[in-house]
Symmetry: C2
Subunit: 68 residues, 2 copies
């Protein structure tokens, strides 16, 4: 399912930043438990939150969706 | 704003299909007025609906977000 694919991709890119879920969520001003559930693929995440995450990962939305 | 950027991109790609908003929305099983408001940039659209639109446009999500 797309929510799981994007969750895995976000986790992969977030790990490359070296930040924990907690530190990354704080960096982008997102609730930690919400962000954790996004990585788990449990959220039908919105475009505004996707953009927030992409900006925090320093990737474009196109890069975020690469191979998805 | 990201909702407007993606709305314009969707409209651009949808016009390339030659289908009207009504016909395209029907093709992907989406409410016509909701789809119209997505193209107008008025919706904080979710990943599941973005995927539905991308599939209907026959593009990947990465292509959908190209240059956005």
């Amino acid at each position: 399912m797309i929510t799981e694919k994007i969750g895995n991709r976000i986790r992969e890119l977030r790990k490359e930043t070296g930040l924990s879920q907690e530190k990354f969520a704080a960096k982008i001003g997102m609730d930690r438990t919400y962000f954790a559930s996004v990585e788990l693929g449990k959220r039908n995440i919105s475009i505004v939150n996707l953009e927030k995450i992409a900006v925090g990962l320093d990737v474009s939305l196109a890069e975020l969706f690469l191979n998805i």
